[in-house]
């Protein structure tokens, strides 16, 4: 059951990601991107990380994907015509993939099955965020402030 679900989600996510990276039509690519994000969220639920899964759906599918669609509408640029092909890019990407697969294959310790574990509750994550992780949390708060101001400064257009 678990293996079947894993296989199904993996195929869905990866094919959506391939579509997002390859489709010419921007809107189609953005929709496939959203599907890939939903697929990753499904992985999180499968791994028992319900809170992270929900955050993924809210933030990525709810906000990021919508923001990207908005940008596509704002910039209204029909298709992405490929001019020429970047072979060096292909080589670099394949080299990274090879290094990655090598790192995974050569490490037998990774081939462990999951223990029937308890899931991490929202309470545990909340307590960690508000006790040990309070410093990074403050930092992220300032980061969001800076991003908010910055995004406004960059697009605000007043009539002269």
């Amino acid at each position: 059951m678990n293996s079947a679900a894993f296989f199904f989600i993996a195929v869905l996510t990866l094919s959506a990601a391939v579509a997002a990276a390859c489709l010419r039509q921007l809107v189609h690519a953005a929709l496939s991107f959203a599907v890939a994000l939903v697929g990753v969220a499904a992985f999180y639920f499968l791994l028992g990380a319900e809170f992270v899964g929900l955050v993924q759906v809210f933030v990525y599918v709810g906000a990021v994907a919508v923001l990207i669609v908005f940008t596509i509408l704002l910039t209204r640029h029909g298709t992405d015509e490929n001019r020429g092909f970047n072979w060096s890019g292909v080589v670099i990407a394949l080299a990274v993939l090879a290094a990655l697969l090598w790192a995974i294959m050569r490490t037998p310790a990774l081939y462990v099955a999951a223990q029937p574990g308890v899931t991490v509750t929202v309470r545990q994550i909340g307590e960690a965020l508000m006790s040990d992780y309070v410093w990074p949390l403050q930092c992220v708060g300032l980061l969001l402030t800076a991003a908010l101001i910055g995004a406004l400064v960059l697009v605000l257009e007043e009539k002269r």
Partner: protein, 486 residues
């Protein structure tokens, strides 16, 4: 006596207050915001000399993310000084911001341009103290996020926007590598805290291959931040296109923070010999590329961009030889001379000139003080004796000879020769070429004149009396950090 974390909180609060003041200031002159920012940062800088000594035992909870060791305190002061100098430049740069931001209010955007560096400063100070990958990631991103905005700030200018887009894409890419690398290190060791990672590596049998893969990805990301070859491709364009004070901030603040993180991150991983060999190669390539690519440049901002790559190479020699004091001294010297050059560049660029070297022709006749300031900056960057730049290179080469890194010393000495050629090219333009007939003296504000005088004095004082900087790190806790490198 003040606990160390209060420094960041004070800077952060002051930045937010200034932002609120700016929001309700209407049509009044915004330069007051920058002056208030400079004064606030000076107070915090003074306060950093009255810190409560850190309690060594507490390494859990909050203190497992944050350290107040001498290295951290030193670079907090470094970040504060850099930000103060950048704000001084930003005041001079205000007319260009007014031209660059499309808005009805002539003061629009200025308040943000003065407060965002203060937020960046908080990020740099947190980075100096970060000893956990989560904290490193979050503070690094705070700095990067502010720079995204600052680099593309004058968006009327197409070159600036393009620089902003290039910086955005390549920085975001390096973030992706950083996160993936941290993921693998976490996966192998089960920890994100650098001290605990060190303990795990020393005590347990760890799979080396995924660990090396992780640390390589993290090094790629840090290579982007410190502008090491082959991750320097963004530097020339972004430095040339960004507003000049932001370029100065990028080349000093961002780079120094990158080196602090590099020193901290490398500490637990130095038992892996592959990491050391990789760094030697990167240092050699960076030295060669930065110095030789600077030779044909005719734009001063672009020249300084390549020079910044070259200096990253000298700093990497210091990292390879694990001499924290040499790296710290070099960074201070680099701060003084680079910011001096950029300060002159801002003032001259404002008075109608561009950043081309030929626009500096005959500057000595028009504005002798500015030409003298630039001369000192250039000879210090080149490494003429009795300047801070010379001693910086001396300490670095000395450390390299002690560690028998002969190849790096040879490359270093040859590239210093290249440096003399391209830095003195600027001096020649200022002193030997005749100015255009219609040229006027360049106006200089009292604040900038004072700042430049202080920078020139500091270059010479530290050039003959380096002890204050070397001693700043030479306290018991610092000795522990540095001895870990040895």
């Amino acid at each position: 006596m003040i606990p160390a974390p209060f420094l960041e909180i004070a800077v952060l609060t002051w930045g937010l207050i200034l932002l609120m003041v700016d929001a309700f200031a209407g049509k009044t002159d915004r330069r007051g915001v920058a002056i208030a920012g400079i004064l606030g940062l000076l107070v915090v800088l003074a306060a950093s000399f009255f810190l409560t000594p850190p309690t060594p035992a507490a390494a859990s909870g909050f203190w497992s993310f944050y350290t107040a060791d001498p290295l951290a305190i030193f670079f907090k002061r470094f970040a504060l000084v850099t930000t103060i100098l950048v704000l001084v430049m930003a005041i001079d740069y205000a007319p260009a911001i007014r031209m660059g931001v499309p808005a009805a209010n002539p003061h629009a955007g200025l308040g943000e341009f003065f407060t965002l560096p203060i937020f960046t400063c908080v990020g740099l100070m947190w980075m100096a103290s970060a000893i956990d990958f989560v904290m490193i990631f979050v503070s690094l991103e705070l700095v990067t996020m502010s720079f995204y905005v600052l680099v593309s700030f004058t968006r009327r200018n197409p070159a600036t926007l393009e620089a902003g887009v290039k910086y955005l894409i390549l920085s975001a890419l390096s973030t992706g590598f950083l996160v993936y690398g941290i993921t693998w290190i976490f996966g192998v060791t089960g920890e994100t805290n650098l001290t605990q990672i060190g303990t795990v590596l020393a005590t347990q049998e760890i799979d080396k291959i995924p660990l090396l893969f992780g640390i390589a990805l993290v090094l790629v990301a840090l290579g982007f931040k410190i502008a090491a070859v082959p991750f320097q491709i963004w530097v020339p364009d972004v430095y040339q296109g960004a507003p000049t004070p932001v370029t100065a901030f990028l080349s000093v603040g961002s780079k120094a923070a990158g080196f602090v993180v590099l020193l901290r991150v490398l500490t637990p991983f130095l038992m892996l010999p592959q990491v050391g060999r990789l760094l030697v190669g990167v240092a050699a390539l960076t030295l060669i590329y930065g110095n030789f690519a600077a030779l044909p440049q005719s734009n001063l901002k672009r020249l300084l961009a390549y020079s910044s790559i070259a200096h990253a190479g000298y700093l990497l020699i210091g990292v390879v030889t694990f001499s924290g004091a040499a790296v710290a001294y070099y960074l201070v010297a680099y701060l003084l001379m680079t910011l001096l050059c950029f300060a002159v560049l801002v003032v001259v660029g404002n008075s109608g000139g561009s950043d081309q070297i030929e626009d500096f022709a005959g500057l000595a006749k028009r504005s002798p003080f500015l030409a003298f300031a630039m001369l000192i900056g250039m000879i210090s960057l080149a490494g003429v004796p009795f300047t801070a730049g010379f001693l910086g290179k001396f300490f670095i080469f000395d450390a390299a000879i002690r560690q028998h890194q002969t190849m790096l010393v040879v490359i270093g000495v040859i590239t210093v020769g290249c440096g003399f050629y391209y830095y003195l090219k600027v001096v020649r333009a200022m002193y030997w070429l005749t100015p255009p007939a219609d040229s006027q003296p360049v106006p200089l504000s009292a604040l900038s004149r004072l700042t430049m005088t202080l920078l020139i004095a500091a270059i010479f004082v530290l050039g003959v009396y380096p002890q204050p900087i070397l001693n700043a790190l030479d306290q018991p806790a610092a000795r522990a950090t540095i001895s870990m490198f040895r």
